[in-house]
Amino acid sequence: MLCRAALGRVGLWRGLCSSSRLQGQTGSELVDCTVTPYLCRLDTPLSDVPYERDLTNEQRALKEKEKGDWGKLTKEEKLALYRLAHQHSYCEMRQGSSEWKTVLGGVFFMLGFSGLLVWWQRVYVFGEVPHTLSPEWIEKQTQRMIDMQVNPVQGFSVYWDYEKKQWK
């Protein structure tokens, strides 16, 4: 009941649920760090303090009514009292968000951008490659490796046909 009703209200950053006061703040409301914060977490589920600490008059009246017979509370009042004490239900707490798509997209974008930077660096910053990587040198080097029978069991020289003098 709580989950289905509240799913409509869930925004993008719900996964980062911590103190109610800290969400979506631009600095207009200061956080009082001397009192115990309300923690909305699955691993420390029942906070010592209620979610809504400063109650309006009608909320205070409801709290008074709560001190009496609970059978007299209507369903809406019970729900209101729940919402005063808790920010999210378990259902809402377990809910994921689509944040991972943003994160993955950002990661890929940054990788791509880094790739562009590396390419620019390769073209405009790095000097020439050493002469030992020129094709002629590599050819002579490979021939020498074959003559030496480098890795003749499972590696390099296995693939050279010594009779026909070519790669197998």
Binding site: R144, D147, M148, Q149, P152, V153, Q154
Partner: protein, 76 residues
Amino acid sequence: MSLVKPAMRGLLGKRLRFHLPIAFALSLVAAAGFKYMVTEPRKQAYAEFYRNYDAAKEFNNMREAGIFESVRPSGE
């Protein structure tokens, strides 16, 4: 309206009883797989290579190719 009481004890034991046999089995499979797909073929390959290996002949081939500094090819 009466919900079933959730399990309060023995949670770690239950998890271990489920996961440890699987972990051991998978480790053994990994070890066996590595043994029979990597080490045994490698041993066979080395055995095959050295079964009919003529060291002197191979040395002469290498010498003629000119890679040694202490023994030049027989022509020089």
